[in-house]
């Protein structure tokens, strides 16, 4: 009964809020460009083959055969006699050293990037967010200890942490998620802490404390949802960094092991032919990374503008 009553009230309200938010976002040209770039790669990733039609293929079981759709070919398919060919009607941006279609690899690579970047940012958010909440809410020695350690970690250049972690644990999706978490969490924690310190002084927190709610309830139910705006924008920027970092690692030869088609590895493989007049591999991976990072940054800027408007 309660649900039936509340639905007619909330749905239109939520829709109009969403429309207003989208309208504001569309109002800023930078955000539109950003959204378009990010959506382009999301569509490419989703539509690379007909996985959407056959969802059992998402689990990457071996008996699943898919027909490449937007990618045209399979990322690992090798074409006899087509080594290092320039762009043509068959191979839109040429072929690489192993006679694989670069366009297909780039499109399949977007799937890896768009899967790993959000996962690693979410893990970093969980770790950093919890630390920041605790430091901000409890204060005192918890705050002092956590913040000293996090400040120290921020002082370490992130590229070194990436290199150290990957050298120690070897390249794998898990290691990359771990590396992005270790480098991202301190920054998130500092942000969440400062937001918590601000929100902690509000009346509704005092009300919850008077009601006798547990600190965890207050942190995760009262404070966290009210700090979501800045956290969301920060997460968007961090997604950009994660894509950036994954590209850099692949480029340095420390990305996912071959024959993975992640963008950094495509650039790394194409780098050797750069001076030999076959820049297509290096260009494809570079442009893909740059556009996705740019898209995410512009989107974050757009969201920031919108948030400022509400303030």
């Amino acid at each position: 009964m309660v649900n039936a009553q509340s639905v007619p009230f909330t749905r239109p309200a939520r829709e109009s809020k969403l429309r207003a938010a989208l309208g504001n976002l569309i109002g800023s040209p930078a955000a539109v460009v950003g959204l378009a770039l990010v959506l382009f790669w999301i569509i490419m990733a989703l539509g690379a083959d007909d996985l959407l039609v056959r969802p059992d293929c998402w689990a990457a079981s071996s008996d699943c055969t898919t027909t490449p759709l937007l990618a045209r070919y399979d990322a690992q398919q090798s074409f006899r006699g087509q080594v290092l060919k320039p762009p043509s009607a068959e191979h839109w941006i040429g072929t690489d050293r192993q006679a694989r279609d670069i366009w297909a690899r780039t499109v399949y690579g977007s799937r890896i990037v768009l899967l790993l970047a959000p996962i690693s940012v979410i893990v970093a958010l969980l770790v950093g967010g919890s630390l920041g909440l605790m430091a901000g809410y409890f204060g005192g020695w918890v705050d002092e200890v956590v913040m000293r350690i996090l400040d120290a970690m921020i002082g370490i250049p992130s590229i070194l942490l990436y290199l150290v972690i990957l050298a120690a644990l070897g390249p794998s999706p898990l290691t990359i998620v771990l590396a992005v978490t270790v480098t991202g969490a301190p920054g998130i924690a500092k942000l969440v802490r400062s937001l918590t310190l601000d929100i902690k002084t509000r009346d509704y927190i005092a009300a919850a404390q008077t009601r006798g709610e547990s600190p965890w309830y207050i942190m995760f139910v009262e404070i966290l949802p009210n700090a979501r705006g800045p956290i969301l924008i920060d997460a968007m920027l961090r997604m950009g960094y994660a894509v950036f970092a994954m590209g850099t690692l692949g480029f340095l030869g420390l990305g996912l092991p071959p024959p993975s088609p992640d963008w950094g590895s495509i650039v790394n493989a194409g780098r050797a032919q750069l001076l030999g007049g076959h820049p297509w591999g290096a260009l494809a991976g570079s442009i893909a990374t740059a556009t996705l990072v740019l898209g995410l940054n512009l989107l974050a800027d757009g969201l920031q503008e919108q948030l400022n408007r509400y303030r």
Binding site: A152, L160, L161, L166, R271, A290
Partner: protein, 435 residues
């Protein structure tokens, strides 16, 4: 001010300490087998155990951390009852460790059968003589075994047990070598990172410090030139944009700087190589070092690496400078100056500039973290033999001691510059000085 600097020094020390734990933890303690990484996955368990014992990798983490940080020679001195000394042999370019005898002579020891101990003596002129020692050198240890402590010829303080001819495995250039008469316990001798000896690379077999020093020098040259180029350029362009707020110059510069900061370093580098080295064929696309003076003989090799670093840094600093200039131009004292009828340039140069540059100058120095990421990528792209490409190669080959040392040097540089930036900022800006 003293209090402030003291506090900063404390946090600097803490950062370095935590960083060293983090680096050490990941590289040496976390799962991942150093023996297999260094020797390949075809080694037998005996070979692995022998390798771990010889390099002290079988010790508990705390012992290994302390040895890595402050060395192990003092532990060896305790066991040997004699001071030990490290000497550098200029001919083989290797360090070696010796026990200092009562008469000042240096000795190492070895045995071939676990019974007859042979002493290798090195006199002050560097002449080596061997001498067989009698059975009286074996001393009973706490558990009653006849043992002998000395330094073996692989620079490890070692404990031999009489009558136990153990086997040790070492990987030489040609093949695995199985040596009899091996010690039971080892303390691999090193001075420790803090005393300038990060250990011997498992990969090249050479002291890490040797390659590290030239690499640091090369990186400082590259980063120094880039810094000298970026600084005035970014400040000038930022001021230009800030003074023309909202006009087309400002929009152009702001958009370009946004693009430049958002672009990954390797993308900028590849774009520059493609345009200037491949299409226009104006500049070399790689740095080739054949001798010590290569950089000075062909300085054009450095243009593209520096241009890439400039591109990476320029956008960020430009934006900070622009914002700072815009803010300063809106303050009351500038308005007063304008109302007083001072000329525009007099206002900019005599009143606005000093305050507008305060933020960007510190930001540039603080931004060295970012620059280090750029340096690793740029050096790797162009094959420049600096610290950045060194740490990358070491990471690729899992050369543990090399990664640790290079990472710690980078972290030290980064933390020191941040301290420097803080001090400069407090000195420039009296308002925050005594908070």
């Amino acid at each position: 001010m003293t209090n402030f600097i003291f506090r900063k020094f404390f946090s600097l020390g803490l950062t370095l300490f935590l960083a060293s734990i983090l680096v050490f933890f990941f590289l040496e303690i976390a799962p991942g087998n150093i023996a297999i990484n260094s020797l390949g996955n075809t080694i037998t368990p005996e070979q692995e155990a022998s390798f771990n014992a010889q390099n002290g990798l079988d010790q508990p983490p705390l012992v290994r951390y302390i040895r890595w940080l402050i060395g192990s020679d003092w532990q060896a001195t305790q066991q040997l009852g004699r001071p030990v000394q490290r000497i550098y042999d200029a001919e083989s370019r290797q360090y070696s460790w010796w026990v200092v005898g009562a008469d000042g002579a240096l000795t190492q020891n070895y045995t071939e059968d676990g019974e007859t101990m042979i002493s290798v003596r090195r006199d002050s002129a560097g002449k080596i003589t061997e001498q067989r020692l009698g059975p009286e050198v074996w001393k009973k240890d706490a558990e009653g075994f006849p043992v002998f402590w000395g330094i073996n010829r692989e620079n490890q303080a070692s404990m031999w047990v009489r009558g136990q001819s153990l086997e040790s495995w070492t990987l030489t250039k040609a093949a695995w070598k199985n040596t009899a008469g091996a010690p039971r316990k080892y303390i691999p001798l090193q001075m420790g990172l803090l005393r300038g000896d990060p250990g011997v690379s498992f990969f090249t077999g050479r002291p890490v410090i040797e390659s590290l020093l030239t690499r640091i020098k090369n990186t400082l040259i590259l980063a120094g030139i880039a810094f000298i180029v970026v600084m005035p350029l970014a400040l000038a362009l930022g001021l230009l944009a800030g003074l023309n707020e909202g006009k087309w110059v400002d929009r152009l510069l702001s958009t370009l700087s946004l693009l430049a900061t958002g672009t990954p370093e390797f993308v900028s580098a590849i774009a520059l190589i493609l345009v200037f080295a491949v299409w226009l064929e104006l500049l070399p696309g790689a740095v080739v070092i054949t001798n010590d003076n290569s950089l000075f003989e062909r300085p054009q090799m450095l243009i593209l690496p520096i241009a890439t670093l400039t591109l990476i840094e320029l956008g960020y600093v430009l934006r900070i400078t622009r914002t700072s200039m815009v803010e300063v131009m809106r303050t009351n004292y500038i308005r007063t100056a304008q109302l007083k009828g001072l000329s525009k340039w007099s206002i900019v140069f005599r009143h606005a500039l000093k305050n507008a540059l305060m933020a960007p100058i510190t930001i540039i120095i603080q931004h060295v973290n970012w620059l280090i990421g750029g340096i690793v990528v740029v050096e790797s792209v162009f094959g420049y033999p600096g610290l950045g490409s060194y740490v990358r190669e070491a990471a690729l080959f899992k050369d543990v001691f090399a990664v640790e040392a290079a990472a710690m040097v980078f972290i030290l540089i980064s933390v020191m510059t941040q301290l420097f930036a803080d001090v400069i900022y407090t000195w420039l800006n009296p308002r925050i000085r005594y908070q």
